[in-house]
């Protein structure tokens, strides 16, 4: 952990003593798991802190830990970047299926599209989002494809032609 990451962690821990659940470090990256109710305040604090200035929400993405057997099932990862210190810090919020996460669009306007994408592909609702609609998939799409339990390969081919069904009616039908 480099000095700036350590300082960030120290400041967050002092400001929000009850919000930090876990701190992970891997390959020089620090991920702070925070309580989901406090995520908006933690983001605002890191953005406005004059020493750290994490002003750019570089990325926001979802992960479904279902296949890894972790509980709670979904993770939402906030990737904050400081244009002053050139350092990154990762925040993570874990939620169960159906649970909502407070939206950070009021802190970072850029979260709008990102949160819509996570909502679209994972089905995690964001509370307080101004315009929570599907973004990449059609509005009438069923399910959330980036979930690990989303069925793969069940889409029937639109045009199929088989000589067997053509020659012997009724033969190929049970094959689908």
């Amino acid at each position: 952990m480099n000095p700036i990451q350590a300082r960030t962690l120290e400041k967050v821990a002092r400001e929000f003593p009850d919000a930090i659940l876990e701190v992970e470090e891997f390959r020089g990256q620090v991920t702070i798991r925070v309580r989901k109710e406090r995520i908006r305040e933690v983001c605002r604090f890191l953005r406005d802190d004059p020493e750290l200035e994490y002003k750019l929400l570089s990325d926001l993405c979802g992960v479904d830990y279902w296949g890894m057997g972790l509980k709670p099932r979904f993770g939402v990862i906030y990737n904050l970047y400081s244009l002053k210190t050139y350092q990154r810090i990762f925040l993570e919020v874990r939620v169960e299926e159906g649970e909502g996460v407070p939206s950070v669009t009021s802190v970072f306007a850029t979260a709008n599209f990102h949160e819509r994408e996570v909502y679209d592909l994972f089905g995690i609702p964001f509370e307080g989002h101004p315009d929570l609609r599907r973004i990449l998939l059609p509005e009438d799409w069923e399910g959330h494809p980036l979930r690990k339990d989303y069925p793969l390969g069940y889409e029937p081919p639109e045009f199929s032609f088989s000589f067997r069904t053509f020659r012997e009616p009724g033969v190929g039908q049970e094959e689908g």
């Binding site: 002003k55 570089s58 990325d59 992960v63 890894m68 990737n79 990102h114």
Partner: protein, 409 residues
């Protein structure tokens, strides 16, 4: 008179796209107009969604590379670099200097090519069709270089995890030199056509202005952010792949309008040329692949025979059995990085391109998220367009240079 005023105050909602020549692909904009003035703008995306992030979850790490050529199809090299660096971070691999220099050289050539497409289409959208033809002439030469190096012009997949798929072909650097020698004159030609052109100035100056603060809040990155005066480039701020060895400067603008974005990108092309020149002049000898037999497939000789690690390639012998086994294992089983999550960002022509990869210890990425700059930059479109004319929307879209393959993924 009163009637006319009443009519213009009436708001009209019209669709621009998804099939519109100036939306650079299948971007659909819902414009709310008051006469000719844009009052609100809502982008609708997803027409090109192919589920690349989902596809990647069922591919081995190395098989993901060809998918990424197709995200931002104008800068395949840089897409591949970002992904390879992310997986290398996961595996804790450092590519040797020769590999790094070749990567930097090709990435910067790719940046020039991508900016040339932007310049050509941007100028064409505003009405200067001839610039498009000139730009594509130069881009063609860069694509020829790519073809020489890996056999493909756009879907390159040249960078591999741990290095490159092959060394540079013989006589390649001379060909790059030829390009570098004639490029500044060509660039001057485009500048002569546009930079002081009164029509160009009228169409671009003071159009699509965004302040630095708004831009950062909206997540704008790359040349569009630098045009607002923010001196931030990932190649300098968090150097990767040996960028700390190169000398170049970051051009910035002052007004944050379409014209400044144009000037910033033009200067970036000059800087990229400078980086390519330094890369060729200082191209080190030695291996181009990392010394990791569990990740990098064994090298081959001219006839395609697999060579043993550490053996002099001059010595021709029977095919090495160890190498064959390792080759087979890498291509059938892949490799298994440790559990964990990494994020690696690179400076793509459009902005920050990042890959967030979660590994569960298997041979396939558990989750791969692409942070596409075009996707994020598109959000700033509304802030830039509101209050301008419909015709300016065309200029503003071109100035943030979205590639829909990356927006929709």
């Amino acid at each position: 008179m009163a009637f006319v005023e009443e009519r213009t105050k009436e708001r009209m909602v019209i669709n621009m796209g998804p099939q519109h020549p100036s939306t650079h692909g299948v971007l659909r904009l819902e414009l709310e107009l008051e006469g000719e003035i844009v009052r609100a703008l809502r982008p609708h995306i997803g027409y090109l969604h192919t589920g690349m992030e989902k596809t990647a979850e069922s591919k081995k790490y190395i098989q993901v590379i060809p998918i990424l050529d197709r995200t931002d199809y104008l800068s395949p090299m840089i897409n591949n670099l970002g992904y390879c660096l992310a997986v290398e971070k996961l595996l804790d691999i450092e590519v040797p200097p020769r590999g790094q220099f070749i990567r930097v050289m090709l990435c910067e050539l790719n940046r020039i090519a991508s900016h040339l497409v932007w310049l050509g289409t941007h100028a064409m959208d505003i009405g200067a069709v001839s610039v498009f033809l000139y730009c594509f002439r130069e881009r063609e030469k860069i694509l020829d270089l790519f073809e020489e190096v890996c056999g493909a012009r756009m879907t390159v997949s040249y960078f591999r995890i741990g290095g490159l798929s092959d060394d540079l072909p013989e006589g390649f650097t001379e060909k790059v030199w030829t390009f570098l020698r004639e490029f500044p004159a060509r660039l001057q030609e485009y500048e002569d056509l546009l930079t002081k052109n009164p029509i160009w100035l009228k169409r671009t100056r003071g159009i699509g202005v965004i302040s630095a603060e708004d831009a950062i809040n909206l997540g704008l990155t790359g040349p569009s952010l630098r045009a607002c005066g923010v001196k931030w480039d990932l190649r300098k701020a968090n150097p990767y792949s040996g960028y700390e060895n190169f000398r170049f400067f970051i051009p910035t603008g002052t007004h944050g309008d379409v014209y400044d974005r144009y000037l910033v990108r033009l200067e970036e092309m000059r800087q990229s040329r400078e980086i390519v020149r330094q890369a060729i002049e200082n191209l080190p000898d030695g291996p181009y692949n990392a010394d990791r037999p569990d990740v990098v497939p064994p090298p081959k000789d001219q006839e395609g025979k697999l060579l043993a690690y550490g053996r002099d390639p001059e010595i021709q012998g029977p095919e090495d059995m160890e190498a064959l086994i390792r080759h087979f294992k890498i291509w059938t089983e892949g490799f298994r990085p440790p559990k964990g999550a990494v994020y690696q960002a690179v400076e793509a022509p459009k902005g920050e391109l990042g890959y967030y990869i979660v590994s569960d210890g298997s041979a396939k990425p558990y989750r791969m998220h692409i942070r596409g700059p075009s996707f994020v930059n598109l959000q700033a479109l509304e802030r830039m367009c509101v209050g301008h004319m419909v015709a300016d929307v065309v200029a503003i879209i071109a100035s943030i240079d979205p590639v829909m393959g990356e927006v929709d993924r």
